[in-house]
């Protein structure tokens, strides 16, 4: 009896990021006792995003959140830019649908958003402790019973590992597969402040419109990855994501920070950031291995959500993680609420979590896109094709001093049989995603 009198939370959540805070908000909303442990000075202090969140898949899970959420700009203009060394070709997509409410995606800064989301969870009754690193799990007979943090023993019916991509908590619980570098990318970015009016002029934005620009090719020196710019209210998130294995390749051997410097010096980019002030430099690892790299999602007394569970995905045109994090946090909370009703926190009871994820967009997406990493990790996509397309454009647009070549032969010059054959192969590859 005395032991039961000791403080026992319904759930301890490790990490106040998207997954942890979504779980805390949902659990506390249902009246459960929740403790969130965050190692940073405040929620968001350790968290980094490239820059955008897609709201549609998670809108209904948190119906009261979106109206007041501190998001930056809704994305009304999408661009993909293929970069050769000295030229680039850009495809821009605008559409009434991107300008119609409810908007599908927003640029976002985690320092602002996570702090706010934590406040919403606290308002529901969740307890948040900052500056608290979880050092170990309390495991009795193979069952997770709580955590050790700062020498203190904290007990709960369930621990939810939301401690991010490196998740030492999920690792200690034996949920994780050995981390292979090929399944991870690193993103590094700058926040560049710009006068609001100048920013809106340069990116052709009206009101709260925002732009998302992705860059492929020379931006990563032909390595697997890409560059990005997202417009925030009065700043830009500008950065690069590149596969860790690709970065360790010796040809060309180029250090991560140098890639970013070169990107910023490109004439296409330099004019966009001119007179801007860099105010922060950040970096974060992204799990890109998808379903194949995913470990177990639950065990006795433990669940994993968000990046800690490997729930992030790169399918080229979109790189997504935050919706999966919030949704998995939500479903983890729903599972714990059910488990409490039955007072059963065994792995068998918590397996309901995987069932919920399977029936949702989360694991459906991961199944549908399980081949995407291997499909996209194809060197010609990041070197040969951006160069080829840029060169064709150069010749199509060129007007020499003498007569101009006919258009068809201009293109045909590049379309050798082996080139066409390799394009067919690329097409076949792409059918997998």
């Amino acid at each position: 009896m005395a032991e039961e009198a000791a403080e026992q939370f319904d759930a301890i959540i490790v990490g106040a990021g998207m997954a942890g805070l979504a779980a805390a908000y949902t659990l506390a909303g249902a009246g459960l006792e929740v403790l969130v442990l965050e190692r940073g000075d405040y929620p968001g202090a350790k968290n980094v995003t490239g820059g955008r969140i897609y709201v549609n898949p998670i809108r209904e899970m948190f119906p009261d959140l979106w109206k007041k959420a501190p998001l930056e700009r809704y994305i009304a203009h999408e661009e993909v830019c293929l970069m050769d060394r000295e030229r680039s070709v850009t495809v821009r997509y605008d559409g009434l649908e991107l300008n119609a409410e409810p908007y599908q995606s927003y640029s976002i800064l985690r320092g602002k958003f996570d702090k706010w989301l934590a406040k919403q969870a606290e308002r529901k009754g969740a307890m948040l402790v900052n500056k608290s690193r979880v050092d170990d799990l309390i495991i009795d007979n193979g069952k997770v019973k709580g955590v050790m943090a700062g020498g203190e023993e904290l007990r709960a019916n369930v621990v939810i590992a939301c401690d991010g991509v490196l998740s030492f908590v999920a690792q200690k619980a034996g949920l994780r597969k050995p981390a292979l570098s090929k399944n991870f990318a690193v993103g590094f970015k700058e926040i560049i402040e710009l006068d609001r009016g100048i920013l809106e002029d340069r990116f052709n934005l009206e009101g709260s419109e925002g732009a998302a620009r992705l860059f492929m090719g020379d931006v990563t020196a032909g390595k697997f990855g890409g560059g990005f710019i997202y417009t925030n209210q009065d700043s830009l998130s500008l950065g690069i994501v590149v596969g860790i294995d690709a970065l360790t390749e010796e040809s060309p051997a180029i250090k991560a920070p140098e890639l970013l410097d070169k990107f910023k010096q490109r004439p296409e980019i330099a004019r966009l950031i001119k007179d801007g002030t860099t105010v922060e430099y950040s970096a974060h690892v992204i799990p890109e291995g998808g379903l194949k790299a995913m470990g177990k999602l639950y065990g006795d007394g433990i669940l994993a959500a968000g990046d800690a569970a490997g729930l992030s995905m790169n399918i080229g045109v979109t790189v997504r993680g935050m919706e999966y994090a919030m949704a998995s946090g939500y479903y983890a909370a729903k599972t714990v609420i059910q488990a409490k009703e039955k007072n059963d926190y065994s792995a068998a009871a918590l397996s309901a979590y995987e069932t919920l994820l399977n029936h949702s967009f989360v694991l459906t997406d991961f199944k549908n896109f399980q081949e995407s990493l291997e499909t996209l990790e194809y060197p010609p996509l990041f070197k040969h094709y951006p160069e080829l397309i840029a060169n064709i454009m150069k010749d199509l647009y060129a007007v020499p001093a003498g007569p101009k070549a006919r258009l068809f032969p201009t293109i045909k010059k590049y379309m050798t049989i082996s080139e066409i054959w390799s394009m067919v192969q690329v097409g076949r590859r792409m059918m997998k995603i």
């Binding site: 350790k46 700058e190 950031i273 430099y281």
Partner: protein, 94 residues
């Protein structure tokens, strides 16, 4: 803006709070392991370098806690923990 900002200066923009002990260690005897050289290329903060003895060394200032070096080199070469609660980098924008 178009001239390159020095990496140290860029890291100087971030808020760092010092821990009692730095949270990454190159494991003893592994300093000259060629696989450690990967860390020099991948570290976004440029913390890894080779010293005059041909050993890979890590600078203790400016770690962004991304974990890229751990994934590139593995825990056979690196001892890697998060810094204590309330220390290390504190992103304001993220």
């Amino acid at each position: 803006m178009s001239e390159v900002m020095n990496l140290r200066a860029k890291l100087g923009l971030d808020v760092f709070k010092e821990d009692k002990q730095f949270h990454i260690k190159i494991k003893a005897g592994k300093e000259t392991d060629t696989r450690l050289k990967k860390a020099i290329l991948v570290c976004p903060a440029g913390l890894y370098s080779v010293n005059e003895n041909g050993e890979v060394v890590i600078s203790e200032d400016g770690c962004l806690e991304c974990g890229t070096c751990l994934l590139a080199c593995g825990d056979e070469l690196l001892e890697w923990h998060y810094p204590s609660g309330g220390t290390g980098v504190q992103f304001r924008f993220g």
